[in-house]
Structure formats: C-alpha cells, structure tokens
C-alpha cells in the first residue's frame, strides 16, 4: 500500500513538474530553452510512479505509538530550533534543543541539561571563536 501511495504521489509530482516547466519560455537565442529538460524528466518519473502502483514492494514496518510520537516531537523541536535560532541566539536555542533531544533519548533531566550546556557553549566556542563563523548571539549577550 505504501508503495502505491508513493507511486501516485510521484505521478502527481511529474504532472505538476511538467506543467510548471511549460511556463518557462524565452523567445530568443536558446533552441532548447529552460523548459525542455524538466519536460524530458517528467514522463519517466510519471511512468515509474505508475509502475510502483502496479508492482509495489511489501510494506515497510511504519513506526507507531510512542515512537512515532517522539519522531513527531523531534521534527517539531528541529523546526522550532530553525525558527528560534536567530531571535533567541545560538546558546539559548541550542541549550534547549539539545536538552530536549537528550531527554527524549532516555537521559535523566540533569544529564540532559548538562548535555545542553556543554554542547551550546562548546560549539559556540568552536564555531564563533575558533572557526570565525559568526553565530547569532541573541538574548544571551543582549545583542
């Protein structure tokens, strides 16, 4: 079943991709144009999608319950981190994210906090000071 869904999605993607590509046109100098290569790619993708609908592999074992929940929580944490890195600053954002992830992987709270503190300060020193890649200072440095 999973493969059938993938097949349908692939075919839909191919259709959209080809349709979208058709809008890219120039009327000068380039015999092939920016649309042709995507239009060449789309049909085989669509056909492969149909093939998967007709000849799917056995379903993988999808994660469920508690594990699916922690995967979802992880994704939420990662998205939140991506959005909060600049406003909160590297140190604070990283501390929170690493602590959450560590706790979720089964560490006790003090351990998790320790992990967060060590990672955030350690990586800040490594990247900002040693490698010279400026990280957002954010709230921690009032900046």
């Amino acid at each position: 079943m999973s493969d059938r869904i993938v097949g349908v999605l692939l075919a839909l993607f191919a259709g959209w991709y080809s349709w979208e590509a058709r809008s890219y046109a120039v009327d000068f100098g380039d015999p092939m144009g920016p649309a042709l290569f995507p239009e060449i790619l789309a049909p085989p993708v669509g056909l492969l999608g149909l093939y998967l609908v007709l000849r799917p592999d056995p379903d993988p074992e999808w994660s469920t319950g508690r594990y699916l929940l922690s995967q979802l929580a992880t994704v939420v944490a990662l998205v939140a981190y991506a959005l909060l890195l600049q406003p909160l600053g590297f140190i604070l954002a990283t501390l929170v994210m690493v602590a959450c992830l560590t706790a979720m992987l089964g560490a006790r709270l003090p351990q998790a906090l320790l992990g967060g503190v060590v990672s955030s300060l350690g990586f800040f020193a490594l990247f900002d000071w040693f490698l010279g890649i400026p990280l957002p200072p954010g709230l921690a440095f009032g900046g």
């Binding site: 979208e20 594990y67 890195l85 992990g115």
Partner: protein, 503 residues
Amino acid sequence: MDILFSLAHGFAVATQPVNLLVAFIGCFVGTVIGALPGIGPVNGIAILIPLAFSLDLSPVSALILLTSVYYGSMFGGRIASILLNIPGDSSAVVTCIDGFPMAKQGRAADALAISAISSFVGGTLATVGLTVLAPTLAMAAIHFGPREYFALYVMAIVIVGGIATGNPAKTLAAGLLGLAIGTVGIDPATGIPRFTFGAYELYEGIDFVIVAIGLFAISEFLIYIEQRRTGPIEQVPVGRRTTALRQLTYPATSLRASLLGFVIGVLPGAGATLASFMGYALEKRVSDKDGTFGKGDPRGVAAPEAADNAAAGGSLVPMLTLGVPGSGTTAIMLGMLVTLNVQPGPLLFQQQPDIVWGLVAALYVSNVILLILNIPLVGLFAKLLTVPSHYLMPGVVTVSFLGVYSVNQNSFDLLLMVGFGVFGYLLRKLSIPLVPVVLGIILGTPMEQSLRRAMAASGGDIWTLVESPLALLLHAITACVILVAILREAGRRRNAAAVERGA
C-alpha cells in the same frame, strides 16, 4: 627531463624540515575541521592564513600549509561519512555507502585506515601520471566539447544507477528526483528562475550541503529513535583496527579506481565527485560477486577514495597546461598562486615552473603526511562512537544545523534541511536509496547545461549529439552497460525460476 628536474627541485624544497612541520600542522588542523559537516577547506584556510603570515612563512611554505589543510579536510570529511553517515563534501557521499556499515560492524578504524591508504595510492599514481602524461593529456581534454560532456554525464548516471541495491525502479526514480531538485533556481543559460515559488532563497539553487546533511544526518536521527523500539541499541565495540594494515591495502581495487579517476580528473569540470562515484560503480561491477557491496565491503571504501584523489591529481593537468581550474582543489590552488602574484593561464607552466612543481610536490608531501599522521590516529577518531548515543546524536544534530547555517546564515536553509531530513527518512523507510538523489542533484546542472550548450552550438539539431566519434564511443559504452545489466537481470530471473521449479 625538464619536468623531472623541476619536480625533484620541488620535492627538495617541500621536504625541508620547516615545510614538513608546516604540512603536519596543516594536515592535523584540516582533518579536525573537515570532520565537521559543512565546514570545509575554505574555513580551514581562513583560520591558518593569519598563522602563515605571523610566522612569516616563505611562499612555498605557505602553499604547503594550505594544500595540507585542503587534503586534511578532505580526509576529515571521510571521518564524518564513515562514523556518522554524514557526507562532508560531495565526493564523500559515496564513501558513506560502505564506510558507515563498516563502522556499524565495529570496523570504523579499518574503514578510516583504508580511506587513508587508498587516498595515498590514488595520489601517488596521479602524481606519476601527471609527470609523464601532462602535455599529451591536456590536448585531449580540449577536444571534450559540450556533446562529449553530455555523453559522459549520461554514462555516469546510467553506471551509477547500478550502485544501489534493491528495486531498480526505485533507484531510477530516486535519481530522477535528484535531477528534478537540481533544476530549482535560476537557469544559468537564460537567467530565468525555475521552481522557486518566488522565494529569493531558492534563486541560487539548493545548496548541496543542505540536501546531503538533511537527507543523511537528520534522517539518521529519526531512524535511530525508531530503532530503540526493538530494545536497547547495542554499543558497537570500536577503537582499534581489527585487521593488519597490509590486508587493508586492496592494491587491485586502488589501481583500477585510480586509473579511472585520473582520466576523469583530466577533464575540466567533471571532477572528483564524478570520479568517486564511477570508481565505486566500476569496482562494484568487477568485484561484487557475493552482494557484499553496500553492506560494509572494504573495497567499497577503497575504490572511491583512490579515484577521488587520483582525480584531484588529474585535475592539475588542465590547470598546469591551460591555467583553468578543473576541480575544487585546483581552484583553491590557483587562488593561492594568484595571491603569490602568479597569473594563472597557459603560460604558467613555462614562466614559473618552480612554483608549479613546488605545488605538485607540496600536494604529494601532504598526501604522505596525512597517511603517517592518520594511521595511528584512526583509533582515536573512531572512539568518537563510544560517546553515549543520547549525547552523541543531539550533538550531531547541532553540528548539522551549524554546517548548514554557515552556508548562507539564514533560517530558511535550516527549515529546508529539516524538510529534507523528513523526506530522507520516508525514502529510507520505503527502501528508496538516497545516494542517487544526491548524485542527481550534483550531476543535474552540468548535464542539462552541456546538453543545452550542444543544442545552442548546433542551432537545435539533435543529431549533433552523436556526430562526434568520441561522443559516439561514450554512448556505445553506455548502451553496452545497459545491455549487460538487462541480460544479467534476465539470467538471474531464469535462475531463480529454475530454482523454484527445482524446489
């Protein structure tokens, strides 16, 4: 003989004690930096330049420092590939395929040693080839026009399709998806933005680092969470090498891959990434009798590493004879020459042979130092895996974010990386291989551009693609590869059917 004399002179300079010391420092720092995903030689060089100036190094010593940082960070990229399944740069992608399974089996130190040894072999053979063949090869490289490049990329895609194990339809779909992702951004030929949804962040295309780190590193984390369901994950014993060094050399593999890598490297623009992929594909075709490739076969680490380094050497040919950088390595080296007031170009070779051959010698010396430095250290690097997972994995995630953040310093890229992480997770669950996706992204743009250049030159005549003998030859090889694959698959099915009937 002039060449040999200049090279000997270069070596004499490069092996002075101060230069050896400099190379040592450069290799070490480079290795450490390169091990951080997304952080590459440019950062390493930026750090060490102040050092070079404050120590008042001679131009040659400065060159040696920078080449050794470059080589060190290349090797460092392998550390991340093998231990953590995060390719640090595009030529390290293929090293993940067998390197990471080796690490999971507790053979991380072996894999790292193999990487160092076969890199060394590739580098050595390339230096020899360069000295003997440079002028001849340069002329050949010029004849590679758009249609020949296109034929080469088609061949690469087809051959590399054989890299992945499992459902061929899924492999193919993965490769095509990669090519499609590669079309995002401003079309280089006409300046028209494609598939950008009006987001300026997508105009320059999706950076390879974002895709690779997302697909590999973030998906690894999600997979890891799920695997805990099957009970506590066993800590793999790591540390020492499990095999004698002599048994880690794989001479035949390294030789084959080096030859292929060198030839690909000579073509400007094809580069080390293509070489590493094709070196792997060739080796798999030749040696994979028992289906061990992709499951931690040491030859699957040796081949791409040898090819990669041989290609780096081969790419010196266009640089030395034409002054055109053929790869990332030579681009950085040309940059160094420019800062030493050397004008790159076809006269480089005649006007300043000392500097040029000094550079070749410097590269080679870095290669040797890297081997000497890293063989004893592989155990130490592999110890990284003994850090308890609940600390290691979040740390890896942080480094992933930082590697991506350092590219453009915006949140958009971070979100994109997380998106690719979820995408990569789904692909892995569905047994759709990740490597063809990455390969498609890397090869898509040059493939499309070479096709369009050929079309522009011929005024839209499609037959131009097969009108050159060289292109025709490449297409013929591709056709043979496909034919053999079909026959083999058919044979396998017949056998399977026969076995079934027999049983």
